[in-house]
């Protein structure tokens, strides 16, 4: 294949993605520097940095950034650790392993909206929810999870959906581990921990990198779960950056400020992407 043809073949994907990125981005940047309020359409004109200042000095700004990072970080740790543990648990064959596997991965296919509604109503509702019923049956005071521990609850809900994803990948990867090597280590007297630490974990480095990367892509802009459950509250306790922009744009009707927020979100995504690439780049043959 000559290089001209190669360029022609590559062009469509690069061009559409460039358009998909640049057109909205430049519009967002433009909106972020003008007055654009849906309720006051007569107010127009260039305002410079003031939308950014407004967004940046919003008392929710730093909590939102912090919540975004806490949310992503906690979900990553929980899903990787739990996913690894469960994948190891079901690695050896036992009666009904096929069914166990199907049960374990099912939450991954549930829609995020359904997932959030399910937990919000049927599990975490302080009166009728199963958690409350369980607490009462042992004589404890039922907890209103979503208003008392909003961020924790969301971390829990998201982890329930994504741990199966980690299990699915680690499980498959464990199957390809060299059994003879493990057997040899065992004969040489290596304990279970040593086997895990020096053989299994190195074998899993690449799958772990993949799990981290894909999840980070999806979790940086988590929206549906928050929208459906807490609406970012109470206060700003469960507002992440994506939700803060949403509430500025669609609840505050201020496109200018929301666009400034969009620019912040894009910057944050790029900062994270930069570190991510350094972290993952070594483990991923691109």
């Amino acid at each position: 294949m000559n290089s001209t043809l190669s360029k022609w073949l590559q062009a469509p994907s690069i061009i559409v993605l460039l358009l998909w990125m640049l057109v909205p981005l430049s519009m967002t940047i433009y909106f972020s520097t003008v007055r654009y309020h849906l309720l006051y359409p007569e107010r127009t004109g260039f305002v410079g940095w003031s939308n950014y200042e407004f967004f940046y000095t919003d008392p929710s700004f730093w909590p939102a950034i912090l919540n975004t990072l806490i949310l992503v970080g906690s979900v990553l740790v929980i899903t990787v650790v739990l996913g690894l543990a469960i994948a190891l648990l079901i690695n050896r064959s036992f009666p009904g392993r096929g069914i166990v596997r199907v049960l374990l991965i099912s939450p991954f296919f549930i829609m995020p909206t359904v997932n959030a509604l399910l937990w919000k109503n049927m599990m975490m509702n302080p009166i009728y929810g199963l958690f409350a019923v369980a607490a009462q049956s042992v004589g404890a005071e039922p907890i209103d999870w979503l208003s008392q521990y909003p961020l924790l609850s969301i971390i829990f809900i998201v982890s329930w959906q994504w741990t199966p994803f980690a299990i699915l990948i680690f499980m498959t990867s464990l199957q390809s581990q060299d059994q003879e090597q493990l057997e040899a280590a065992r004969l040489d007297g290596a304990g279970a921990w040593a086997q895990f630490r020096y053989l299994t974990l190195p074998h899993l480095m690449r799958p772990i990198a993949i799990v981290l990367m894909i999840q980070m892509i999806f979790h940086l802009s988590i929206f549906a779960e928050i929208f459906v459950t807490t609406g970012g509250g109470p206060g700003t306790q469960s507002t992440n950056l994506a939700f803060l922009i949403f509430s500025q744009a669609l609840q505050g009707f201020d496109i200018g400020v929301a666009s400034a927020g969009g620019v912040f979100a894009i910057i944050l995504a790029n900062v994270v992407a930069f570190f991510l690439v350094r972290l993952i780049g070594k483990n991923l043959t691109v």
Partner: protein, 277 residues
């Protein structure tokens, strides 16, 4: 005293029981949702919860009566499959060219593509909304198909690139010596060899698009509404009608969950970029 062998067997048995317990724990919320969908509204919020009851199909009947489930389901199928096909159409030639004729920038281009996936959609919602309005495609399937193709294109490119790279170059060189054109090369040699990879990529993309919430909720209403939008429409005014909510959720999730069960092996291949066999 137990012998080593007995101890080993006991350990296995305990591990198996733990595995079953964990699996039941993970699946329980889904089971509970399906169970609730067959209850009456009163039974659904009963304390203590009812486990044995006369199952009723009333909720499903009401949903069928009030909304057109099948048109929502059809929209979900058309947009998730259509978006996937469109993305594949763009991605296959590009990934092919990048894999077999990599340039100095190929790696950077791929990582840049992936980074576009990290941008929060809400940051560009207004521009996209206004563009759709301008072209008069708000609440149409075609708008959703195009957007779905674009949001999944980076991941699809990444996965296909990795698959194509695993095809030995010697095979292509041999075919070129025999005078095969690039078109023949793709259709007769690369596609058959990468077929498994292409299929698993497509399956993964369909699952992700089926569950995509942000764009389907914000850009569609009645005409092009997907099942995600249907569930969302049931959630706000009827948040406390758990039985109906469960029924509509069950209907919305069942197709893709069953689909996922049958294709789990291919899905893993797609998700791990073909790296984990």
């Amino acid at each position: 005293m137990m012998t080593d062998r007995q101890r080993e067997r006991l350990k296995h048995r305990i591990a198996a029981i733990c595995a079953w317990l964990v699996a039941i724990l993970f699946f329980f919320p889904i089971f509970w949702m399906v169970l609730t969908s067959f209850k009456t509204e009163l039974e659904a919020i009963a304390v203590p919860p009812t486990v044995f009851f006369d199952p009723t199909l009333e909720n499903f009947r009401l949903i069928e009566e009030r909304t057109d489930y099948f048109s929502y389901a059809l929209n979900s199928i058309i947009t998730s499959v259509g978006g996937t096909l469109l993305a594949m159409l763009i991605a296959i030639p590009s990934a092919y060219a990048m894999a077999f004729n990599p340039g100095r920038w190929t790696k950077d281009i791929l990582l840049w593509m992936l980074s576009t996936k990290m941008l929060p959609a809400v940051g560009v919602l207004m521009p996209i909304y206004l563009i759709c309005q301008k072209f008069g495609v708000l609440d149409t399937r075609i708008a959703l198909v195009v957007i779905f193709a674009l949001i999944n294109l980076p991941i699809i490119m990444m996965i296909l690139f990795n698959y194509f790279r695993e095809i030995p170059k010697e095979i292509l060189e041999a075919s070129r010596m025999d005078g095969a054109s690039t078109f023949n090369e793709i259709t007769q040699i690369v596609m058959p060899l990468a077929w498994g990879g292409i299929a698993s990529t497509a399956l993964l993309s369909i699952v992700l698009l089926w569950n995509e919430a942000f764009w389907s909720i914000n850009l569609t209403s009645s005409d092009a509404g997907t099942l995600v939008a249907l569930v969302a429409s049931f959630s706000s005014p009827e948040g406390l009608f758990w039985a109906k909510l469960s029924a509509v959720s069950t209907l919305a999730c069942a197709p893709i969950v069953v689909f996922g069960w049958f294709t789990q092996r291919q899905l893993v291949q797609g998700l791990t970029f073909g790296a984990v066999k």
